[in-house]
Each structure stands twice: as structure tokens, then as C-alpha cells.
Amino acid sequence: MKRLDLVFSERELDAIIKALEIAEVPGYTVMKHATGRGPQTIVSEDMEFTGLGANAHVIVFCEEEVLEKIKTNVSPTLNYYGGVAYVSEAIEL
């Protein structure tokens, strides 16, 4: 099994979830209200009340095959708006 961590702006959450569903992930977990810094932007807590929104951290546990599909689906959004995606190994307890 693989573990995928995505971090991106909350405002793209619906689009990313849709992309994950189309890739037929078995499930996902979302944590909102994350902040951070990337190569392009700084996201601070008070962004949440301006229109910009904070970040979302999404975790997906899935089989390796699904990753390819996810990549195809989420890359446009991440490239356009920023955000990161990293994969680690994981096995079910």
C-alpha cells in the first residue's frame, strides 16, 4: 500500500476530492485549517477569514496502481494553484 499526502489551498478542496473520486480511491482523510509555506506562497492563519483560505492536508491510503490515476487528475490543479503531493510506503496494521 501507498500513503499519499497532499497539501494545497482549502479553496481547491472540492476539485481535488473530485479528482480523487474519479481515480477511485478507496477513501481519504481531510484536515483543514493547515497553514504553511511553499516555494510560492505563505499561508497564515488569518488568511482563513480573508477570502484566500488556509490550506487543506489530505491523506490517501491506496494501492500503487491508483497513484498514477491520481497524478493525472490532480496535477493540473496543483500546478495551476500550487500545492505539494508526496508518496510514502504504508502497510495496513
Binding site: H33, E45, F49, G51, L52
Partner: protein
């Protein structure tokens, strides 16, 4: 006289709490108002000014100065971005120029509220229909901003970034804060027309509580604005000068328009404040979506870090002084 106005503005609770927030950041106190509490106050204030504005609008009717004033406000929100864009293009690229220009064409509800409180403490009357102008100045500025990008952007802009008009209109008209303000305005109007008891029963929440909630929110806004200051330094001296001078320019133009419309002194101040203030709610959301090339730190730190505190502390009394000079007869 104007120092007097300045002191009268500064020595009110909302502005004092705003200072308290700013100083908290400067002296590095660990005072913080954690998310989503600012959102709570922000939603409350929009709901309350919308509702109160709707009631006033129902009382005054849609005739008289309502239509000309609101139309003039919309025209200002279309013209101001064009002026700003021309100025900003001297130093910045198309994307940043358009995004910042749109922000200055749009408005800041909290600045408007603070100006209303200032007028109340000065016992100067104003009309509820100004809230309608407030609500209707958000969207046009966004659309102008995006048109500017469409016209000015290099032809090789990546395909993915081509704007979809439907998404833009959606974002500009149905942004949460615009929607809540307009919706509450309508609800206030309907309630005043059909359910006067409901108006009375809302009064403790939307009326009495308002001033205190405004103070609490300005405390937070002081913290937020002061935290934007480092970002401002990075933005450079051109943007810093822009963020202070443009509000003055826009307010000046606004006051002459108000004179031409023969608005009362109170309405003229509010009109000036609408022109002078810049958006940090609806516009950033729309710009981030449609012009990701523009640096968010530019339009946030100018509007929120400088123009907003400038208007709250100095702008309102300065504009009032100007209004008093230019439109004294209509008192």
C-alpha cells in the same frame, strides 16, 4: 479643526481597540484571536449591516437619491480600477497591476462600518441605502480587474489559465461575503415591509450588540493588519506610496461626485470611504482563482496592511474635513 476631528475619531472605542491590536503585534504580546472567531465576527457584521440597511432602504423607499447614488457607486467601482491600473503598470506587470487595481475598486465593509460609527458619534445623519452601494461595489471591480488581465496578458499565457467567464461571474457575484450582505439586505427589506415585529425582535442582535462586536473585530483586525507589515516592506516603496496616496485621491474624487449628486454630508463621507477603501475579502478570493500569477502578498499587504489602517485612523477624519469644506451648504 482637523486635528480635532482626528482626535474625535481616534478616541472612540473601535479605533482604540484597533490600536490595541496593532500595538499587541508591535510589542510582541501573545494576544491572539484564534480562527474561526474572526470569521464569526466578520459574518455577524455583514449580516447585521445588511439587515439594518435593508430596513432603512424599505423606510426611505427606492426613489429619491437612492438610484443615482447607487449607480454612481457602481460607476466608481468600474472607473477606479482603470485609474489604478494605469498607475500600477508603471512598475508592475499586468497580473499584479490588475489584481491590485480590482482590490481598490472594491470596498472594505469594516472601514464603512467604522465610518458609520464615526458619523454617529458626531451626530451626523446618513442613509441606509448607502449599504446597498456598499454591497453593489464588490462585483463590478472584480470584473474590470479580470477584463484588464484578459486584454493585457501576454498571448502565450498557458492554456490552463484561460479564464472561464462563468466561473468569474460566479466568483464575483456569489462570493460568500457579497452573498451574505446582499441576502441580509433583502431580508431586512422584506422583514421591514411584512413583519415589523421581526424588526424589533432582531434589534438587540443586529442593533444593540453591533458596536461592541465591531470593537472586538477591530481588535483582531489591528492584529491582522500589523502582521501584514513585514510583507509590505518586501512589496517596496512604490506600493507603499500607492497604498496611502490612492485612497486620498479616490476619496477626493468621491467627494466631488457626492457634491455633484448633492448628497448629505453623512452620505458624502460614506461615499468617499467606499471609494477610498480596498477589498481584502471578495477580491482576493476571486483574484487567487483567476489570476494566480498575481502575488497574493502584494494585494493583501497593501489593502490590509496599509490602506485599511490608514483609512481607519487618518482617512476617515481627513475625508470628513474635506467633506465639511467642499459640501458645507448641504448640512
Amino acid at each position: 479643526m482637523e486635528t480635532n476631528l482626528f482626535l474625535q475619531n481616534v478616541l472612540t472605542p473601535p479605533v482604540l481597540f484597533f490600536f490595541l491590536g496593532i500595538i499587541a503585534v508591535i510589542v510582541r504580546s501573545d494576544l491572539e484571536i484564534p480562527a474561526p472567531l474572526p470569521k464569526l465576527f466578520s459574518l455577524y457584521l455583514l449580516l447585521a449591516i445588511g439587515f439594518k440597511g435593508g430596513i432603512e432602504l424599505e423606510k426611505s423607499g427606492l426613489g429619491g437619491k437612492v438610484f443615482p447614488t447607487v449607480s454612481a457607486a457602481i460607476i466608481m467601482s468600474l472607473v477606479i480600477p482603470l485609474i489604478c491600473y494605469v498607475i500600477l503598470r508603471l512598475k508592475l506587470d499586468v497580473f499584479n497591476s490588475a489584481a491590485i487595481a480590482a482590490a481598490y475598486g472594491s470596498i472594505s465593509a469594516v472601514t464603512f462600518i467604522t465610518a458609520e460609527s464615526f458619523l454617529e458619534s458626531q451626530n451626523i445623519p446618513f442613509d441606509g441605502f448607502m449599504v446597498a452601494a456598499l454591497a453593489l461595489m464588490e462585483s463590478p471591480a472584480i470584473i474590470v480587474g479580470l477584463l484588464l488581465v484578459k486584454l493585457g496578458a501576454p498571448k502565450n499565457r498557458p492554456n490552463a489559465k484561460v479564464m472561464k467567464w462563468k466561473a468569474i461571474l460566479h466568483e464575483s457575484m456569489l462570493n460568500g461575503s457579497v452573498y451574505l450582505l446582499l441576502g441580509s439586505l433583502l431580508i431586512g427589506f422584506l422583514t421591514a415591509a411584512h413583519n415589523p415585529v421581526g424588526v424589533d425582535k432582531m434589534q438587540p442582535f443586529t442593533g444593540k450588540l453591533f458596536y461592541g462586536a465591531e470593537c472586538f473585530f477591530l481588535l483582531d483586525m489591528g492584529i491582522v493588519a500589523a502582521q501584514r507589515l513585514p510583507g509590505l516592506k518586501k512589496a517596496g516603496s512604490f506600493l507603499i506610496a500607492f497604498a496611502v496616496l490612492i485612497p486620498l485621491l479616490n476619496a477626493g474624487v468621491g467627494i466631488f461626485v457626492a457634491k455633484a449628486l448633492m448628497l448629505s454630508r453623512g452620505n458624502a463621507l460614506l461615499f468617499a470611504v467606499l471609494c477610498a477603501s480596498a477589498s481584502y475579502l471578495a477580491v482576493p478570493a476571486a483574484m487567487r482563482m483567476t489570476v494566480p500569477e498575481a502575488k497574493a502578498s502584494y494585494y493583501i499587504s497593501t489593502t490590509l496592511g496599509l490602506t485599511f489602517p490608514f483609512n481607519i485612523i487618518f482617512g476617515i477624519p481627513i475625508y470628513m474635513g474635506l467633506v465639511n469644506k467642499i459640501i458645507p451648504s448641504i448640512t
